[in-house]
Symmetry: C2
Subunit: 457 residues, 2 copies
């Protein structure tokens, strides 16, 4: 409980816990939700959750002015007002689905978009039921006829190949039994790895598979969950038969980007437009009103083909960054642990240090490449393409030592792909050929790459 | 030598080796420098170096039209015309320095900017003398009075802490004996690591230290070396007493960015504007005509202070990326090799997997952190900031296991900084305090970060 003095001032300002408050201190204004005081905090300080999702504490001295905010609280917050009394009332909005709309499966596997803030602790917890995601997004019923699936619930940093395969199997099953598209709500940290895996696992893909997350949980005022879900629903019933991530395209709530699963990466810890297409334009811009502007000509169209799953996977692959002082003996260590392949994040056009250590990278790579171990080099710069022909040292690495130049694949994409390729064959020449074959848009043509970065605009 | 048929057609078009040629084939136009034929290539195919720096071969069939280009060759190319006769004539431009201009030291340590293309092999080789860099840039004599130093010549991927210390000592010596600023011409692959190291090594910095490279060698038509050097010279005599990288700011030859040494990263393999400031605006925009637009208020001004060097350094630090499937036992391996600290590139707001393996990351980190080993977590997203307070798993990692949240430091910056910090102390609490202290602009304040990405514009 806040102190008597604080509660008195809150009462006279007409603000209570769970309501929006405007605080002015030393000329600076802060606006957000007034939070209940926790056991560990100062009873004379206001705890305020700002619209960027973070909590601040402000000592309510005489120099501090408070008043009620004119902005409205999000619905879900209102329903938690009873918190201060110790009781939590959570009413679920009953969404009525319109059966005349295209059937789409929403698969909930976890993450912030499936979480809520516990206002007692400030921590973030999983929703009890996936339907809660839809709490603030009744608009969805005007777009699609949603069917919910909840195969498991994990934060994305704890997911791996088995989870990816499970999602792929369920997605294929749904698409092959009437769903026009699949939406997967997922944590954002490793969301792009799942997108990459599904891009290779789902063969004959004939319908949209739309991964969506949120950078702020759905009960926050600034949450991106609602708009991301609305845009994802538009994509899921569209004719774009690709695996991709659909999330905010800018800092404003204006449009989302739908970016190819093999060409997208989380590029910011907290911004809502963190997922950026790399080395190609987004597949499409998507507006909440349903407009879809296709931005990329390399797109498969919806068909009636049966989707197949090929999730063969060799997990014994290491991704290593090459930096000044990095010791290539780490490769020997992984080989001793029975690792089958390596993705190297290398600087510039594709270099490795050749002279720094007593045992240079080129020597170590050449030795193991001769034994049939693949080394795929990818851009540490993230943007751009490996070009093995420019410098003498590059020729040493790619022509003599036998490393595979990873074209313009993201390191993360090359990692997932190499695991998938090694799940199919260990023969060096086949591995090389498959790594340099474009299966899911992961390698783009050399043309026009300079003008289609897709980065922060 | 080209075949007789090819030479006949070249003659009638008025084009010879070393001259610019325009080739039209199947409706596509190619323009570039006609190269001498190598021993390994088809005598009926033209070898052309395009303006983007790459060579192509075009079979000179009847369907192919050729003509002289109206564009002029760069000076240095003209002087190599005699190549075809087997003799190489390299005349050095004699630059006359104006002693009334501010004295600035140009330190040449290697890289593409100190290289030339060998038109016989297509390979890139080091210049014989650093003065050759200035070959195409006589404009410099109107800006500064340059003194040349060439402590060593290396491609940047082969550089390390000893080289950084050597550069720092020479830079301090020059600045303390009359130079108004130091320009360092350097390879681009690991250029940002050198910039980071100099930022920590050079104490009491009172004058500009400007690192500059080029993405295309100086004898190419499309080289960025000239403009980068001109802009770097303007910065070197300015009042901005910071270590930074000065290179192209856009794809056009319009302006350069001068970006802080601790906040800049190579973000593209080949673009001329590859070096981008991360998480803050560039220090300044610099135009070739000498205009300098300061974009960042956090800048030290020129003084007469004596520059000191503090290059204490513990190289036994590993930088590790945390990805799905990454095994934390790699930490035990490094510890067994006597490593003293770790920089982790972690996803999202600062997570590590907590449940995937039998021995989760948190457990391994906690065990070694208890023994005094520092683990600094940095954003795998590159952009943004670690925030250890949002999720339960984050609290486990930072509050319980004892990892250090690396704020908005680049992984590369945190790596160089941790080596430098551990060169001064191994005491865990001192290391933590130093890692969270801002020494060289490597940690920015939380305000306004969202709107100052500094990425590709």
């Amino acid at each position: 409980m806040y102190s008597n003095a604080v509660r008195k001032r809150l009462r006279s300002a007409g603000v209570s816990v769970g309501k929006r408050i405007l605080v002015e201190k030393e000329g600076k204004k802060f606006e957000g939700l007034l939070m209940p005081k926790t056991d560990f905090s100062d009873p004379d300080s206001l705890a305020i959750k700002l619209d960027n999702g973070y909590n601040i504490g402000i000592k309510l001295g005489k120099d501090v002015k408070i008043r009620k905010s004119r902005h409205r609280e999000p619905k879900s917050i209102l329903e938690e007002e009873k918190l201060e009394t110790g009781k939590i009332s959570r009413k679920l909005l009953k969404v009525k689905w319109d059966k005349s709309k295209p059937p789409v499966t929403l698969m909930s596997v976890g993450g912030t978009i499936s979480s809520r803030v516990d206002y007692r602790t400030g921590g973030v917890y999983a929703l009890e039921s996936p339907e809660e995601i839809l709490h603030n997004v009744p608009e969805l019923s005007g777009i699609v006829n949603l069917k919910m699936e909840k195969p498991f619930n994990k934060m994305s940093e704890d997911m791996g190949p088995d989870d990816w395969a499970r999602i792929a199997r369920l997605a294929a099953k749904e698409l092959n039994s009437g769903s026009h598209g699949v939406i997967i709500t997922h944590g954002t940290d490793f969301l792009h790895y799942t997108a990459m895996a599904l891009s290779f696992f789902l063969q004959n893909l004939s319908k949209p598979v739309v991964l969506v997350g949120s950078q702020r949980s759905s009960d926050r005022g600034s949450s991106d969950a609602g708009m991301n879900l609305i845009c994802a629903s538009h994509v899921a019933k569209s004719d774009i038969a690709e695996v991709g991530i659909c999330m905010h395209g800018s800092l404003n709530d204006d449009y989302c980007l739908f970016s190819r699963g093999t060409k997208v990466r989380k590029m910011h810890t907290s911004r809502r437009d963190a997922f950026r297409p790399i080395n190609e334009p987004p597949l499409a811009r998507v507006w909440p009103d349903g407009r879809i502007e296709v931005k990329n000509s390399n797109i498969r169209n919806r068909t009636n083909d049966r989707v197949k799953v090929d999730s063969k996977f060799e997990p014994k692959v290491a991704m290593l960054k090459v930096y000044p002082g990095a010791d290539p003996k780490i490769i020997d260590y992984y080989i001793s642990k029975n690792y089958k392949g390596f993705v190297l994040e290398v600087p510039g056009l594709g270099h490795v240090p050749t002279t720094v250590s007593k045992k240079p990278w080129t020597t170590v790579i050449k030795k193991h490449a001769k034994d049939g171990i693949p080394f795929v080099c990818t851009p540490q710069t993230i943007y751009g393409r490996i070009n093995p022909y420019v410098y003498t040292n590059l020729r040493l690495l790619y022509l003599d030592a036998g490393a595979i130049p990873g074209e313009d694949m993201l390191p993360e994409t090359a990692y997932v792909k190499l695991c998938w390729v090694l799940g199919h064959t260990k023969k060096p020449e086949e591995v090389r050929k498959m790594m340099l074959t474009n299966y899911a848009g992961e390698i783009t043509k050399r043309t026009e790459i300079e003008n289609s970065l897709g980065g922060f605009e």
